[in-house]
Assembly symmetry: C2
Homo-oligomer: 112 residues x 2
DNA sequence: TTGCCATAGTTCCAAAACGACACTCAATAC
DNA sequence: GTATTGAGTGTCGTTTTGGAACTATGGCAA
């Protein structure tokens, strides 16, 4: 079975994961919750490649988790902001954060 | 930056995702919370390939989220059971479930 | 004692996704 | 003019995935 087939799974966990369950997606959302909204900000903060970020943003907009809001018209540039639907992922992010704080202490500093 | 470099990230969300943030891993944990513990059960329940399941189980055991408990000695066979550390991921799973129930209604039935 | 089944993986290969880096395009800054 | 910034694309080689077949170990049954 392919990952993409999960979107129609009977299980709500699986359906959620079909949206946010791949590499990097949750990190983009974390940055959104931290107040970021622009392409270059996400790149710098998360360390992911531009290629993948473009893909993830597209998916998140399609899923209704983020909204593309133009902030200049020429050239077209957009802020990516959380929708209500997106904001309601906060509890999941917080749970992941708490678990990481408790169970995965930092072993060495990184510059990211 | 590579995905695997996240394990030493300053952000606890990123560190958590380095363990559970890739495709399928959370689904394996969901099945564990539903009471499953064996290879073939995970395969049947999640629809993932054997290959990937073997890899994910190995990583989860290495990460201390699951524990391998022998249930026959010849041949060696194991139950995969949640450790305390693993059980504490429950809030995250529940958050993902709630979000899916609310925001991702099923569009058509599937047999999985 | 040969044959079949079950469990738990492994191996192999093709296809898709990823990672690194260069390049584009529009506008503004110097 | 030339350089810089923001938001991506294009290319290309490397990993990871998906699918199917294969292996290993023992139980059971004819």
């Amino acid at each position: 079975m392919k990952w993409s087939d999960l979107s129609d799974n009977w299980c709500p966990v699986a359906r959620t994961l079909s949206v946010v369950g791949d590499r990097w997606t949750m990190l983009v959302l974390r940055d959104c919750f931290l107040g970021m909204s622009r392409f270059e900000q996400f790149i710098e903060s998360s360390g992911m490649t531009r290629h993948i970020l473009a893909d993830r943003l597209k998916r998140l907009v399609e899923a209704g988790v983020l909204e593309r809001v133009a902030y200049t018209t020429t050239p077209k540039r957009y802020d990516y902001v959380l929708t209500e639907k997106g904001k309601e992922l906060a509890p999941a992010l917080l749970s992941l954060r708490d678990w990481g704080k408790k169970h995965l202490p930092v072993r060495r500093a990184t510059s990211a």
